[in-house]
């Protein structure tokens, strides 16, 4: 048990350090973007969050397939944890996205295909969490949310494509990709990307531990009630 604790602290420390590094890079080291000025710095966080949200939802699909194949509780726990953390990340992406939109192009919502897909993703996985909440027997909950986890993610490429076409029909003022990447921005982007991935890992494991201990508690209660 001691070794796991040590590794856990190491992970949290690493996440913290990397976060600080990312902060330093994006706020100080990276140059201010010519057209948008300071506000562009939020891009690094926005991107870090967005990519990790997609990663989280992809891993939910992987965990769902894992559960359907092995029917072991651990996969289901990780699916739930990843979905929850994924939704938190997506919320952050949406909010920072719209604030940035407000600052740069003074519209709250830019209908950029990536941003809109993240919005749709946010709805899909809210549905996922609602589905989980509405089922009591954990085995049916695990099985059905696994199925929805797969259907949800398989749908993402089609959503992205249709929104991209949809947006090209309604040309919108500026899209996020319009920025030129100054080479010095790259470390900031990488650092924040890595920092948030580690954060994703830490949160998921923490959330998974909570479910596991809740499980242990529940089985102890059952045992306690029966004898």
């Amino acid at each position: 048990m001691h070794r796991r604790l040590f590794r856990w602290r190491l992970a949290v420390a690493a996440a913290g350090a990397l976060m600080l590094l990312a902060l330093y890079f994006s706020l100080v080291y990276a140059p201010t973007e010519r057209t948008m000025g300071q506000v562009q710095r939020v891009f690094y966080f926005h991107l870090g969050n967005a990519w990790n949200a997609f990663l989280a939802f992809f891993l939910v699909m992987v965990a769902s397939i894992g559960y359907l194949k092995t029917r072991s509780r651990r996969w289901d726990i990780y699916a739930e944890a990843l979905a929850e953390v994924g939704v938190v990340f997506t919320t952050v992406v949406l909010i920072t996205g719209s604030i940035w939109g407000r600052a740069a192009w003074n519209t709250w919502w830019t209908w950029d295909p990536r941003l809109t897909t993240t919005l749709v993703l946010w709805f899909i996985y809210d549905g996922y969490l609602a589905l989980r909440a509405s089922l009591e027997n954990w085995e049916t909950r695990a099985r059905l949310s696994a199925v929805y986890g797969i259907v949800g993610f398989v749908n993402v490429p089609i959503v992205f494509m249709s929104i991209r076409w949809w947006r090209t029909i309604h040309p919108v003022v500026i899209s996020l990709s319009g920025m030129d990447m100054d080479p010095r921005m790259v470390p900031a982007m990488l650092a924040s990307l890595l920092a948030f991935t580690l954060l994703l890992g830490v949160c998921t494991v923490l959330r998974a531990q909570i479910s596991q201990s809740a499980d242990a508690l529940q089985s102890m209660k059952d045992a306690f009630r029966q004898d």
Partner: protein, 915 residues
């Protein structure tokens, strides 16, 4: 004459359609007679295609320019040999070649016999001819080779000079035969899937030899193509990662993977699903390959520009992919491997890793080739990926594969014992290291080259060691000289050592590739007559230009004297540039090579004032590649030669596994397996258990219920009674243990077994909105009950519901609904009935009528399984009683004629104590 060609092609299309259809019917109805007629049709198709091809050859030979194809690809002064080669110079001709070869191979495949499973052969031939129909359709509709040309031109356009080279005869022909021949294993895989014996060894044998045949041609095509490019195209390299070259490499990689993993299936019955997927993938990639070359969506030196044809290929490709996915998914159950991978240090694991590496290489090649397409689609414009990408990705994977090739001979089947591995592995590894150190000392510093040479040394020595060890063992066994034993061994184990020779060939080719890859020296210089260029330690003295007139072209040559470091003359080279009357020109490369290196000079150009520019390459060890190639071909021929068939053991090492081993030679079972044996034990369970997440609901349930018995199962709430019922009635699979119903394994028998059992529970499964008749009618249809209407009337009579048969069930009382549920059981007349607390909510009179019906069912010899926790009703009929507490069978005994009291005591004593 061309008209006869068109007619014969149209007739061939009709015959191919007929052949595909009749073969299909023959497979469906398993009739030998239909198959004979279909075989006749297949011969007709082959004959008609040959006729059409001969006519085209004749037209090309006599340059009859009234036919458009001839006018486009030949001209009067084209030497006769190249007129024949022009047959596959253009679009229509190469498609005719395709379909001609396919029809020939298809006819051969049609006559192949499969004693155990004739249906599979028929289905395979029908697929083969269906593919041929596709090609013939294009030949007749889209690109007719015999199309007329109204104003007959005086002279044709002539063959592209690039193709006027002897290589042009071998390279495309072998490549096409390779591509087309993969259609046969594909149809066998399809045929096996369709007739449901994809799991059985009979399929493996047929597909393996055909794939090896196709693989041989494709390999020769690819390697000869590389050689032709090196000699003819004159840019100093042999492999440009050109989209068309990649298109031929992709199926080659998957086919190589298949050839290896098929052995695992043959010996250990493993990777069945994987093999089927590989075969389908190989054929689809070869079609995809031709699609790439034909539709010109990717720019390449070979491509034919004709997008209309691309459309057709695309639809065919999409249809074939969809069909294979659906069929593989439908047969997934039967494709489960019998043996699991026991240890990672075993031959099967070796096959697994080699497959993974090959698939990774294939994926990298596909990705690289399609990259411009993908980027265009994503809207970032066309970014083409050059050789550096491929070299960085594919070459290391290739080296890893070759390393694995060296390791495999040491791994035993199932598991390798450490000792034997260590002592036979040491020597070759040592050799490898010694070679690497030696080369490093000799001044070669490039790590990549060192690794490659070390691996090659390791592989060659490991194969030699293995051969030597085997030969000496044979010599010891029958006391003869090692060399004679070696000779006999090679003759007898042809297939195995053919494979080894192929591996040697590959290793030798790696030497060549490393040589030219890492140590190529290249210089481009312009010199005046009399000056010299020194490249890679050789001095090229340029003595001036010569000009020579030849019929139909005039040639400009440069004269070069080559001498090595010590000044000794080595060779005199004459690179040329050839000019044709119609303005086209081609460069002829001058090569002087020996085993150590090739001197490779290209005459780039010259100015008026006499300065001539040369491109000079020194390519060390490049000849070894061609030697390796020939070894490879010989090895494959050795393996392909129809030697003794390996003993067809059951697909499991431990003799006939229940699944496929047994019924191979037996009479061909009716296609949808309907084995109606009467089993003595109706339900036979051995330590069944059911786990939901971490909780074990049922543990160690062992139960034997002979036919015609009435079993009563008692137990407190939450003991897992209804879960056991669900498992026994095949509604949910057990987590562990074995279960056989009516003597059959539920997995094998599938749905047909469920037709013979039914479930009566306290909730009635009836639809409120449907009337009583309609409910019975629905279930009658789903269970396939014969003369349904009469049975419904009779059954409704039996439960006195005829009066209410038209009313919706939701107006029925609880008792009436229960009686209708019983009527449903009577209608389906199952052999095995599960009763889940049927008496709940029944008044005395209804319970009595239920009892009488159950007694009647028991009298008819049905087996009944009653689950109840109340003692009032149903127990008097029981022949056996069992008590289930907390997921375990705590008591089991015959109990015919017990009184209710006895049941109660047994229950209290068993279930009560635990409480």
């Amino acid at each position: 004459m061309p008209e006869i060609g068109t007619i014969s092609l149209a007739a061939a299309l009709a015959a191919a359609l007929y052949a595909a259809a009749t073969f299909g019917m023959a497979a469906w109805r398993r009739s030998e007679e239909l198959a004979r007629r279909a075989r006749w049709a297949s011969v007709a198709v082959a004959a008609l295609e040959t006729l059409a091809s001969l006519i085209l050859f004749y037209l090309l030979g006599t340059s009859d320019f009234s036919v458009r194809y001839v006018a486009e690809y030949t001209s009067r002064n084209l030497p006769p040999f190249y007129r024949l080669v022009a047959f596959w110079g253009g679009q229509a001709g190469s498609l005719l070649l395709w379909s001609w070869i396919l029809s020939l191979l298809g006819a051969v495949a049609a006559y192949q016999r499969f004693p155990g499973q004739p249906a599979m052969g028929f289905a395979a031939s029908s697929v083969a001819f269906a593919v041929d129909v596709f090609f013939l359709l294009i030949l007749n509709a889209v690109t007719p080779p015999f199309a007329r040309l109204s104003p007959v031109p005086p002279d044709g356009a002539g063959l592209n000079p690039l193709l006027q080279n002897p290589g042009m005869f071998i390279h495309p022909l072998t490549l096409y035969v390779g591509y087309v021949a993969f259609a046969i294993p594909f149809s066998f895989a399809f045929g096996a899937l369709a007739t449901g014996n994809a799991g059985r060894p009979v399929w493996v044998q047929a597909v393996r030899s055909w794939t090896l045949f196709a693989w041989l041609f494709l390999t020769v095509g690819i390697v000869y193509g590389a050689q032709w490019a090196y000699v003819e195209l004159g840019w100093g390299g042999y492999w440009g990662w050109d989209p068309v070259e990649n298109a031929s490499l992709m199926p080659w990689l998957t086919a190589t993977a298949f050839l290896h993993s098929i052995m695992a299936q043959e010996r250990r019955g493993m990777y069945k699903a994987w093999n089927v997927i590989l075969v389908a993938l190989t054929f689809l990639l070869s079609i995809f390959g031709t699609y790439l070359t034909r539709s010109g969506i990717l720019s390449s030196v070979h491509a034919f520009q004709d997008s209309a044809l691309g459309q057709w290929f695309f639809y065919f490709l999409a249809a074939a992919t969809l069909a294979s996915i659906v069929l593989i998914a439908a047969r997934w159950q039967q494709l489960q491997g019998e043996q699991e991978l026991e240890s990672y240090a075993s031959k099967e694991a070796g096959f697994l890793f080699s497959n993974l590496l090959l698939m990774a290489m294939a994926f990298a090649v596909i990705l690289g080739t399609l990259y411009p397409l993908i980027t265009r689609w994503l809207g970032q414009g066309e970014i083409t990926v050059g050789p550096p990408f491929f070299n960085q990705v594919v070459v290391p994977l290739g080296l890893a594969l070759v390393l694995l090739m060296g390791l495999c001979p040491f791994l035993g089947w199932r598991r390798t014992n450490g000792g034997q591995f260590k002592e036979s592995f040491l020597a070759p590894a040592l050799v490898g290291v010694v070679v690497a150190v030696g080369l490093a000392l000799a001044g070669i510093r490039i790590p990549g080259a060192l690794v490659a040479f070390a691996i090659v040394a390791f592989v060659l020595s490991s194969l030699a060691a293995e051969l030597w060890r085997e030969a000496s063992r044979q010599a010891l066994k029958n006391g003869e000289g090692v060399l004679r034993a070696l000779g006999r061994l090679l003759a007898r184990e042809r297939r195995r050592y053919g494979g080894h020779l192929v591996h040697v060939g590959v290793a030798v080719m790696i030497i060549g590739m490393t040589g030219i890859g890492f140590f190529q020296v290249h210089a481009t210089q312009s010199v005046q007559a009399g000056q010299a260029i020194t490249v890679g330690g050789y001095r090229f003295a340029y003595n001036g230009l010569l000009e020579k007139r030849q019929p139909g072209r005039d040639v400009v040559m440069a004269d070069l004297e080559v001498s090595d470091r010590q000044g000794r003359p080595v060779a005199s080279l004459r690179p040329e540039k050839v000019f044709y009357p119609d303005g086209q020109n081609s460069t002829e490369v001058a090569i002087h090579g020996n085993l150590a290196r090739d001197l490779y000079v290209i005459l780039a150009g010259w100015q008026a004032d006499g300065t001539t520019t040369f491109q000079i390459y020194v390519n060390p060890l490049v000849q070894w590649m061609w030697i390796g190639e020939y070894l490879l071909v010989v090895g494959t021929l050795l393996a392909l030669w129809p030697g003794r068939r390996p003993r067809l053991q059951g697909s499991g090492a431990d003799g006939a596994a229940a699944g496929s081993g047994g019924d191979d030679g037996g009479p061909a079972p009716a296609w949808p397996e309907e084995r109606a044996e009467v089993a003595e034990l109706m339900v036979e369970a051995r330590d069944l258990s059911k786990r939901i997440g971490e909780r074990l609901i049922l543990q160690g349930i062992s139960l034997q219920v002979p036919r015609g018995q009435f079993v009563a199962l008692l137990g407190p709430n939450g003991a897992g009674k209804s879960t056991l019922l669900r498992v026994l009635s095949l509604l949910s699979p057990p987590s562990a243990g074995t279960l056989r119903i009516a003597g059959q394994d539920p997995l094998e028998a599938g749905d047909s077994l469920r037709r013979r059992l039914a479930l009566l529970s306290h909730n009635t499964f009836l639809y409120g909105d449907l009337s009583a008749r309609e409910n019975l009618y629905l279930y009658g249809r789903l269970y396939g009950v014969e003369n349904l209407q009469a049975r419904i009337v009779q059954v409704l009579e039996r439960v006195h519901l005829t009066l209410f048969q038209m009313d919706p069930v939701r107006v029925f009382s609880r008792g009436m609904q229960q009686r209708l549920a019983i009527a449903r059981i009577l209608l389906l007349s199952p052999d095995l009935v599960f009763l889940d607390e049927p008496y709940t909510g029944l008044d005395l009179e209804a319970a009595a009528s239920l009892n009488s019906i159950l007694a009647e069912l028991k009298a008819q010899g049905k087996t009944l399984f009653l689950i109840t926790h109340s003692f009032e009703a149903g127990l008097e009929l029981a022949d056996q009683v069992a008590v289930l507490v907390r997921g375990r069978l705590v008591y089991q005994a015959p109990s015919s004629g017990w009184s209710v009291e006895q049941y109660r005591n047994v229950y209290l004593q068993k279930a009560g104590s635990v409480k």
